[in-house]
Amino acid sequence: MTVLEAENVSYKYSVGTPFQITALDRVNVKVEQGDMLAVIGHTGSGKSTLIQHFNALLKPTEGRILLYGKDINESRETAHNARFKVGLCFQYPEYQLFESTVYKDISFGPANMGLSSSETDERVRRAADFVGLSENMLGKSPFDLSGGEKRRVAIAGVMAMEPEVLIMDEPAAGLDPRGRRSILELIGNYRKKTGRTVIIVSHSMEDVAGVAEKILVLNRGSVAMHGSLDEVFSRSDELRGMGLDIPQITRIFSELNKYGFGLKKNVYTVEQAKDEILRYLHKGGNAK
């Protein structure tokens, strides 16, 4: 079933001024229920503009955004409701914290939905627990936390709205390698546990390769590719032309295959690489 659909969406910034820029040019995308989709593109490719359309923060200059087949920009109300159905977590979300305690900050979204206080409480605790915030942290001021913890609080704030679609804009940006891994793992777990649709925006193929199942590649405001990891990564030359690349490990494997090792082509993470190498060695190599 299609959850979100962009139908011929174009978006222009500063219409009617000499600074007019076309950020999206007739984009058609369908996001299916339960998708784990990564949106990838170079800086200025229109990634952020596209996802801000999905929860009605931006209104398309042309075209429509459909949520379960209904235009989300039909009225003020539908646009407002779309914000709760499509949870959007911006880049560096820790800079948006404002409440006096972690608990209150996480409850901002659910409270805006007009939920009862017991329902809000339940959701806040569930979200906090999910992102790994301990009970005693809920009473602390968010400004006393470390950078990584702040980000978890902000993510929990969006998750607590329990949206049908969760969109994360560069969730791992500015974190150290361990922080990156744990945030990406967290998103993977969220998807596994809830089965809801998740969209990750990133410019790093490495990050995406570990979690995503489908990839949408944007280039200069248009959809360049949309398909499974295998489909997209098999077009590495085209990707390189757009200033993108396939994961390093995949490149190493394709180089190895040029020397006649008969290795699998769809190796995207170090973990998969390890398995494949072990399988290969076990079988007894036949390198020339």
Binding site: R83, Y95, F98, F108, N112
Partner: protein, 271 residues
């Protein structure tokens, strides 16, 4: 929407007005503003209004931009005019109904005030439209430098101003981002009464303040690391020089002053 504010913005260009020395531009602007207040009748006011319009044409900045800048104060102009019409009781009565009295003196004053405010905005915004913030502060610093003799830290103040101006666009961008983020969490910023709207600003201003302090610390550290010291007899990359343009501007504004005084003297005063 916040990005649409044009007052205080700088539009690069190469016109006569752009190329005036910032000190000359400051003095001429100040003189023109004083002259606006010297005007006593419609003739002198018309002169200064035409001057302001021609200055804009001369600067090659589109009128659309300037009018957009006026948008924010339409209300002020309207309100001032309204007050004059209803409360000024000079001259002949044009219309009377119970306690409301409208006189021709009131209407004239209303028009006078409106034109005066518009001219003020035209001239003062032209200064920032045609001068980059750094050049402007440089100019102010140079004009105020005699005050150093009485131990006023002019250069430090100028640096503070430069920093403040430099961060306006950054802050606007940041407000936009935070607003979007809170809207994404369902914050309702556009509906409700005054109290509700004021409350809705809390989730925007707290992060804004927190981030500004953080940025201020970072900037201060970066300046310390480069051993910044406000009053170290800095030399300039661009040395300011008066040219024939500046002299022409001075002569012109001086002639305007004379003309306004003469017009005030020979024709009756409205105000």
């Amino acid at each position: 929407m916040i990005k649409d504010i044009t007052i205080g913005q700088y539009f690069p260009g190469n016109s006569f007005i752009h190329r005036l020395d910032p000190r000359a531009k400051l003095i001429v602007t100040f003189a023109a503003l004083v002259e606006i207040f010297l005007c006593k009748n419609f003739l002198s006011l018309a002169l200064i209004f035409i001057f302001s319009v021609f200055s804009i044409l001369f600067s090659k900045i589109s009128f659309k931009v300037v009018l957009k800048g006026l948008k924010m104060i339409y209300f002020l102009i309207f309100f001032t005019a309204l007050l004059q019409i209803f409360y000024n009781e000079k001259g002949n009565i044009l219309f009377e109904w119970r306690k409301i009295k409208i006189t021709d003196g009131g209407v004239y004053t209303a028009i006078f005030m409106a034109v005066r405010i518009i001219s003020l905005i035209f001239i003062s915004s032209l200064l920032t439209y045609t001068t980059s913030p750094t050049t402007l502060t440089d100019g102010i610093e140079r004009l105020l430098s005699p005050l150093k003799k009485i131990k006023i830290p002019v250069d430090t103040l100028a640096m503070m101003m430069t920093i403040a101006l430099r961060f306006i666009p950054t802050l606007i961008e940041e407000i936009d981002k935070i607003m979007n983020a809170q809207k994404a969490r369902g914050a309702d910023l556009d509906t409700g009464g005054v109290l509700k709207r004021a409350k809705a600003l809390i989730p925007i201003f707290i992060p804004l303040f927190v981030n500004s302090f953080r940025r201020a610390y970072e900037l201060a550290f970066a300046m310390e690391c480069r051993c910044y010291n406000g009053s170290n007899h800095r030399t300039r990359m661009k040395i300011m020089k008066f040219t024939w343009r500046d002299i022409a501007a001075f002569i012109f504004i001086g002639m305007m002053l004379a003309a306004i005084i003469l017009l005030n003297h020979f024709f009756g005063a409205v105000i």
